[in-house]
Symmetry: C2
Subunit: 651 residues, 2 copies
């Protein structure tokens, strides 16, 4: 044991001394496969442990909590008071003034009758108020889901030639979207929306905003023969091929209202306290423009107006749902895609405001709420709705305290539907166009794009793919492209995990990446590698090649620097979070190959699962002998170093 003493002299440091006191790598406590499966399922589907609150409660209490869980209104309802009501009335009226013009506008964006937009601002908010757990979400139709539904359904059915069928398909798609959303929540598969990364969403929303704005050129320029396509190229060519249809009256009036709306928007952005400026502007614009048209009989001078709207509340529409027939595939696809997109918006908005007010929104519960709201909506003449970002922001700024603001909004919309519909007869389409453009322009988030560019170039590429895919190919394909690239990157990362060479930070027993820590020094005779990913079928061949190359590198370096030959390869497995059968074979093979070269393999700090699988695979426990398995790199190096010395001193 002379070598050991020598070694200790060499590294004359108390920490190394302590490191010599070798600690055992422990196996996690035995659990059966069933328990492991149960655990994994729990982590996959119930990471938030929704049943936690039920633990240790009386049966009665459990029922009460259960009802409160399903209907969050029962949680806050009993404590509701006049103070809260005051705030909610103010905010409810404010968002109603925004919801009415936006509802009409978005319905037109989806190629649906304007009144459907109002129907959709009446029933769904009531449903959400009962089921939803966000206090700030303002529910109603939104631009992107409207655009998506309109453009997808138009692939097969023309809204101009067959408006009834189109409407039926829209309701059916809404039904499936709701069903799909609720199932995602119920089956706790909410993580599916996580696959829309921030970069994807920012690119997608910006592209969609441009597509939506381009569509408004029809109303803003007064063109009557407008292309039915959505892409940048066909729309621009349609606009410039129909210059003789341009109406100067429409352009002038549209321009004025657009500038007015943009200015009010700008004011509210600069001073959030003046939120009511931008919140009230759309309704004011509608009233003003309607009065102008009415006063000057402008509809006779080429300014197109909405026209007569029926009065009355939502008619039932369950008899309009189509569950068979030739369009069922389209309807399912539309439901799926608009469902996911609107869910993503709703959840993201809910989470944003919950974080601001420091409460938590349960993603899966929200999905059920939004899903049920859409299913109910589809039977009461509503098309797809969700929590809208712009309206929720106004709601929040206007001081909303609970979901009652949604109820107030719904009541206001109801009054409108019952008594005020004739007033919209002379509302010009151009003002709806201006309202839409102003609303969607906020979806183009340049600072966020710049931040992405700064932080992660690959994410920036994903963003660009989504953006250009949406404006040049199509809304849904652009989105699919971006999601595909994001997942491809993730898989590629898995097939090419990082392996880094560690070196000793002088004066410590800490080992770190030699590229990152320039002080870190190599230990003669040792190649210390850290693998930073699960080892599985997709990367075990790569890891094998890569480690052999590290060894070659070492040997070449050795020739030039004349330091001692390679004796030990130390694999730091701390970052290997899982391993599969291919991975286990890889470790065994590596050990065998190294042995033939006269090099010993030592493993450091495997996590529980990896440790277990290596043990099971390795019947004779060759690999997991105390002299080839260590708790820290420091202990591995000092122990192996001293064993090497003691061997050489015996020779």
């Amino acid at each position: 044991m002379e070598g050991k003493v020598e070694h200790n002299h060499h590294h004359d440091h108390p920490c190394v001394e302590i490191a010599m006191e070798i600690h055992k790598v422990e196996t996690p406590p035995k659990r059966s496969s069933l328990q492991k499966l149960k655990n994994r399922l729990k982590e996959t589907f119930f990471p938030d442990d929704p049943l936690r609150q039920f633990k240790g409660q009386s049966t009665k209490q459990k029922w009460l909590l259960g009802f409160q869980y399903i209907f969050p209104i029962l949680q806050w309802g009993p404590d509701y008071n006049l103070n809260l009501l005051k705030s909610d009335v103010v905010s409810g009226l404010t968002i109603a003034s925004l919801a009415i013009p936006q509802g009409i506008s978005y319905a037109k964006l989806a190629n649906l009758p304007p009144i459907v937009g109002l129907y959709s601002s009446f029933v769904p908010p009531l449903v959400y108020a009962v089921l939803g757990s966000s206090r700030d979400l303002a529910v109603g139709p939104v631009s992107i889901a409207s655009l998506l539904m309109g453009s997808m359904l138009r692939q097969e059915v023309s809204p101009a030639q067959d408006p009834l069928l189109f409407l039926q398909l829209a309701f059916t798609s809404t039904f499936f979207a709701g069903l799909f959303q609720a199932s995602l929540g119920f089956l706790r598969l909410g993580f599916i929306i996580d696959f829309l990364s921030k970069a994807t969403l920012i690119g997608f929303m910006a592209g969609a905003a441009i597509i939506v704005s381009l569509q408004q050129l029809k109303a803003l320029l007064g063109i009557t023969h407008f292309t039915k396509e959505m892409g940048l190229v066909p729309v621009m060519s349609s606009v410039f091929h129909n210059t003789k249809e341009w109406s100067w009256q429409t352009i002038l009036m549209g321009f004025c209202f657009l500038v007015f709306l943009l200015v009010t928007r700008h004011i509210s952005i600069k001073k959030p306290k003046l939120f009511w400026v931008s919140a009230g502007a759309p309704l004011l614009s509608v009233i003003l423009s309607t009065l102008i048209v009415f006063a000057f009989k402008a509809e006779r001078h080429g300014i197109s107006v909405i026209g007569k709207l029926e009065q009355g509340l939502n008619p039932p529409s369950w008899n309009m749902l189509h569950f068979h027939g030739s369009h069922i595939g389209l309807v399912l696809k539309t439901g799926l895609i608009t469902g996911i997109i609107s869910l993503t918006e709703g959840i993201a908005v809910g989470r944003t405001f919950a974080a601001l007010k420091n409460y938590q929104v349960d993603g899966n519960k929200e999905m059920i709420a939004i899903g049920v709201m859409n299913v109910v909506g589809s039977t009461t003449s509503c098309y797809i709705t969700t929590g809208a970002f712009s309206r929720s922001a106004v709601n929040h700024n206007a001081g909303a305290r609970t979901a009652v603001s949604n109820i107030i909004m719904a009541v206001t919309v109801m009054v409108t539907l019952l008594f005020l519909m004739p007033l919209f007869q002379y509302t010009p389409n151009l003002v709806l166009g201006a309202i839409i453009v102003t609303a969607v322009i906020g979806l183009i988030d340049i600072p966020a794009a710049y931040q992405i560019w700064k932080v992660d170039k690959f994410d920036f590429v994903v963003m660009l793919c989504a953006f250009f895919g949406v404006i040049f190919i199509s809304v849904q394909e652009g989105l699919a492209l971006a999601v595909g690239i994001s997942i491809f990157k993730m898989v590629l990362q898995m097939t090419r995990p990082k392996t880094v060479v560690l070196g000793n930070i002088p004066g410590t027993d800490i080992f770190r990446n030699r590229d990152q820590y320039k002080d870190a020094v190599s230990v003669p005779g040792f190649l210390i590698l850290s693998i930073q990913a699960p080892i599985n079928f997709a990367n075990s061949n790569y890891l094998n090649d890569r480690i052999l190359r590290w060894i070659q590198d070492y040997e070449e370096e050795e020739e030039t620097k004349r330091h001692s030959g390679l004796r030990f390869v130390v694999l730091d497995l701390a970052a290997v979070s899982a391993i599969d059968t291919n991975g286990v074979t890889f470790v065994q093979e590596l050990r065998r190959v190294l042995e033939k070269k006269g090099v010993e393999l030592a493993l450091v700090n495997p996590v529980g699962e990896v440790m277990e699988k290596l043990q099971k695979a390795d019947g004779t426990h060759d690999m997991l002998q105390p002299n080839s398995l260590f708790l820290t790199v420091g202990e591995a190096v000092s122990s192996l170093f001293s064993s090497m010395k003691s061997v050489s001193s015996h020779v």
Copy 2:
């Protein structure tokens, strides 16, 4: 300062003292985005650094090395000598005796004329001998690729009704398979075959072996009206619905030869030195059975025979390749799938024997060799070929030293084609069936399946999916199912990364998983978490939920145990190998949320990339202050602990 002293007494150990000497977390040296991209591309496509050997060589030498790289025969050819030739002749003749009957049998499996099997054992081995880098690979038709090609092409074209078109499609598929294989190698996309995990392959091969064996019931029972389908159910029903077609002469003779072949196979497995017993048995069976049929005129007693075969070498077939027409889609798909499957077999076989003899096989180079071999083959009447496992094992056992054994085999096949073809006229189909069954039975690897069961239950499920998918649905869909599930598991693992709570191992400054290390103790006021995966869009929401739940757990535990409130959350990022914009936002948000709770967030040991991105995202560098960024958990805990105590002592 009383608290601090107490703490030190509690952890009365020099290492904690030393850990107080805080080390800085370093940022990796600055590199431009271009450099990073270059580096990442290099790691992705050239992990083996193929140009390494060219470095620092003279121009002439570089050319020589280049030629040797493309034609490995130039590497070993000059040193070839009589000794090597002796070994290669013995092994070449041995594998020829196996290749001739197997070639005829596998061609029948692919619904092709038997002679195509012999053609395919002549040209491709010659091409491989020049281009291939494995010394043991015996090239020729193989069972699974034959089965796949036969069954896929039969979906559109009947080999019985339109044999010429079927043959043309087979050659064209082979051409595309070769083109595809060579491109994979050339574009260095070889890692695509890594997606066929060991579990998938074992399940798939076992399933395919059963499907192949079932097909042989036609020949072994003498059924003439046999189903054209492949699945277990239709084949068994076909067999038992045609019992009156069963021929006892065929069954008896088939059974005898099958038993003979299985016994010889068993002998060779038990004593590898007797490899020639199983290697010679197929040829002996063919000769014996042919003699029996010829002597007893058995073909008149219901024993079907191969019939007349043409004499002569491979006719050219480039005029039979179809690059357009209605079947092009099928041909491309067949080429792709058979190409990948045969590549997987060839590479796996090459790697296995290279590991045994301790030399290295370059995967991408092998792909090019196998691809070129198939492209050349498709123009000379050969269908898809690759390195066959059983024949390569015989080759290895027979003492093959270089690829010359392939040349010897090809020459033997050539002699057969030129002079011996009439001898096969009376060879009964039943013996071919028996040869196929004996060959494929080795693909069912029960011990490997048991090992998978022992090590990884999920992999076992994947294996079962491949197995049952192949035997009940279809060969290609079973494979696709298993690959899909493997990738799904990988993605799921990514969306649900492990987070573990670390505790201090008493008497050290080491922190480890408290589940795995029962001794590890928590530090009051600290929640120390290790995240074990890249943080990205797919998991940042989950991580957020999960960490908040850990905090809840801590707080509940706190109430019962009455220890001090949570003051610090320490995130060990050592195992976080990458981060994207969503991940960066997650860390920032977490910090904000914790701050509202009065809890500080400290990060430990971020790797270079993560560190860089956090820095870029965090303009004010709030997050990366020395008091919230540490090199080790030990240092983080002791530093924060002392700062906490000093604050409280001031109060």
